[in-house]
């Protein structure tokens, strides 16, 4: 239709490995003929996408592997959307993309960025903290889209660090709100061996205390690299045996065994957590609140479904773009002020205005409770009230967070 050929953003090269190779992914979309929108009046605002590649286990059950461009494609769509909006105001954006291989120095890659005012970070928590503490990052706004670690929103928060991805605490709160609503409040918890699994389990324990649910028993399960598929029928009877419980919760972020646990529990109980009914920032069945539009645009661009980190990547760039629209400027200082202003609210296809918490930089947002077939519920679940917004029933509320880096007022 129309002049779609002319509107495709220019791609200079593709995503490549290597810390020193910063590629300008896409510049301002050229304005089609006859378009009244003015050319960008000021300079383009540069947003960087910086990713630490991590080793992923081979999928056990022929699941689609986690795509190599997870997060990056979301950021790219965010850039397109921002330029499509910005051109009506003479604002233009560009995205640089840098991928750091495992073992390489992400700090050097950060220092090598020509412009590091706005950096979308898709990296584990240790990298995120290492970068946030660099002297070169003092004036930066880092947008975390890859690390769900609650500690980054707690005692390890940083003034120059915003979190677009929900924390494990938010995910766990969403799940336990759902369980409390259903009165399925007795939880048998099975955790995997990875450090992230322990953090996920800890988030569930904390949420259980917060919403008066109960962890009635806990067990650990380590497949030790073995193939559980042939033995799952008998193997899981032991770790899922315990006192009366309503659900079995699993903490297995890497997907090493959790999927096989479903329907293989000792008692006929639903599986919830990292598998089964899973709290997620985004997922394939999400379609309400015009999400189907975003899903469609993403699929057209990436050729696959949008994953939670993709959504966070899109959201991070979209937030910077909307801040520029609010500021009517691509001046980095003005955009930064708009982005962190107390009243700044943005849409994110989740049915509510989203905003950054003033006490720890976390984007407040609904969390979906998904199984692969459907959105079972959306948290905050009805009945969980908060004096500020119901969204603040998810994750660390102001009095709960040990973050002191944001000395500003509440909001």
């Amino acid at each position: 239709m129309g002049s779609s050929g002319a509107r495709r953003p220019r791609m200079r090269g593709g995503l490549r490995a290597g810390p020193r190779l910063a590629v300008i992914l896409a510049a301002l979309a050229p304005i089609p003929e006859g378009q009244a929108a003015p050319a960008p009046a000021g300079p383009l605002l540069t947003i960087q996408y910086l990713e630490r590649r991590v080793e992923r286990p081979v999928p056990v059950n022929n699941e689609d592997p986690i795509p190599d461009d997870e997060g990056a494609k979301g950021a790219e769509l965010g850039l397109r959307d921002s330029n499509a909006t910005g051109r009506f105001l003479g604002l233009g954006f560009e995205l640089g993309a840098t991928i750091v291989e495992p073992g390489d120095d992400i700090r050097r890659a950060f220092r090598d960025l020509a412009d590091r005012r706005f950096v979308v970070l898709n990296a584990p928590a240790a990298d995120v903290l290492a970068l946030a503490d660099l002297p070169e990052a003092k004036g930066s706004v880092l947008l975390n889209i890859g690390a769900p670690d609650t500690r980054l929103r707690d005692a390890d928060c940083r003034r120059n660090l915003l979190h677009v991805l929900p924390s494990r605490a938010m995910l766990a709160d969403a799940l336990v709100q759902f369980l409390a609503f259903k009165r399925w409040s007795r939880i048998l918890l099975v955790s995997g061996p990875a450090p992230g699994d322990a953090l996920y389990a800890e988030a569930l324990r904390r949420s259980a205390r917060k919403f008066s649910a109960r962890i009635v028993a806990e067990s650990r399960y380590d497949p030790q690299g073995g193939d559980v598929r042939d033995t799952a029928l008998r193997e899981f009877a032991l770790p899922t045996r315990g006192p009366e419980h309503d659900v079995v919760a699993v903490a297995d972020e890497a997907g090493a065994f959790g999927a096989s646990l479903n329907y293989n529990t000792a008692s006929p109980r639903p599986l919830v957590g990292t598998q089964g009914l899973a709290p997620s920032a985004w997922g394939r069945p999400v379609e309400a609140w015009a999400a189907v539009q975003l899903q469609g645009r993403f699929r057209k661009l990436a050729g696959r479904a949008m994953r939670p980190v993709d959504w966070a990547g899109w959201m991070a760039v979209h937030a910077v773009g909307e801040a520029a629209v609010k500021a009517r400027s691509t001046d980095p200082a003005a955009v930064r002020d708009a982005l962190t202003a107390p009243g700044f609210e943005i849409g994110g296809f989740k049915g509510r205005p989203l905003s950054f918490r003033a006490w720890n930089g976390q984007l407040r947002q609904p969390v979906f409770l998904l199984w692969p077939g459907a959105v079972t519920a959306t948290a905050p679940i009805e009945g969980f009230l908060h004096h500020r917004t119901e969204l603040d029933t998810l994750g660390l509320d102001e009095p709960e967070s040990a973050c002191r880096a944001f000395s500003g007022t509440s909001g």
Binding site: M1, G2, S3, S4, R7, P32, G34, Q35, A36, A37, D81, A84, T85, F88, L89, A290, Q293, G296, R297, E322, V325, E345, I346, G347, G351, R352, P353, T389, E390, L391
Partner: protein, 335 residues
Amino acid sequence: MSRLTPLALVLCLAGPALAEEIFVSNERDNTVSVIDGDSLEVLRTFPVGRRPRGLTFSQDGRSLYVCASDSDAVQVIDPETGQVRHNLPSGEDPEQFALAPDGRTLFIANEENATTTVVDAQTRKVLAQIDVGIEPEGVAVSPDGRTAVTTSETTNMVHWIDTQTLAAVDATPVGQRPRFAAFTADGSRLWASAEIGGTVSVIDVATRKVVETIAFAVKGIAADRIQPVGVQMSKDGRHAFVALGPSDRVAVVDTATYRVESYILVGRRVWQLALNAAGTRLFTTNGVSGDVTVIDTATFRPIKTVKVGRFPWGAAARPMSSAQAPDGRAAGAAP
């Protein structure tokens, strides 16, 4: 029958009944429900294209236009029989549209590809495709026919289109996720709702500047659940009705003072609004509860809930006789 005048008899033969009908598109059922304006019962339901949303009538009431979004077409339908006469080219994913006062030019928002398509309903030809912001949704044409607007839900702007040159001439930023636009009867103001922003912007059409931003507050309802969507001016122009989405309320706003006079409780997640020809009744589509609330516009009280299909989206009153002023007013199709 003997008491009928010849004129009335002719009307009876030419058109169906003199009674009024309100048409509702059911987004999930791929159907249109027809509600009798007097008895407020569903008279008939007929199948249409996939994912019907915006709908409106030709000025003589003899053709129903329906945006069948997933069929990528605007369907022209016989409102009596529900038979599809033909499709109009509409561009991809048509969501809402508006018929210009000339009775033949349709301005259609193509949600998926960020354009507004202009179609001549008589020649069935595309006159232009105009680039606008992302996810264009609300469409309206000014009463003098000179200006068309499209709201873009992700770009968050009202785009102004010159209907002579068919070019976008300006854009006015409004609140987050603008979903609907309606001109006042005198054409001096444009009201644009912002679903996520929670506001309605009133724009001075001459300067294209926002002159008033109306906010809403309902006791016991969280602010972020108050999400303005459809806007309908009352017949006398003194009030504007604003559908407030998942707060399940319709706000009544004084158009002179911009003060909210009342909030009317309706069905769940109210989307769009339509008046009957006389302006005495307001019909609301309630997406989640799958029904239509009928409101008495004199008392601002709901008088009946009418069950329709799944996800009722748009509503439009059919102009029924020459005795009544032709009025293509419709939710999803501002005049």
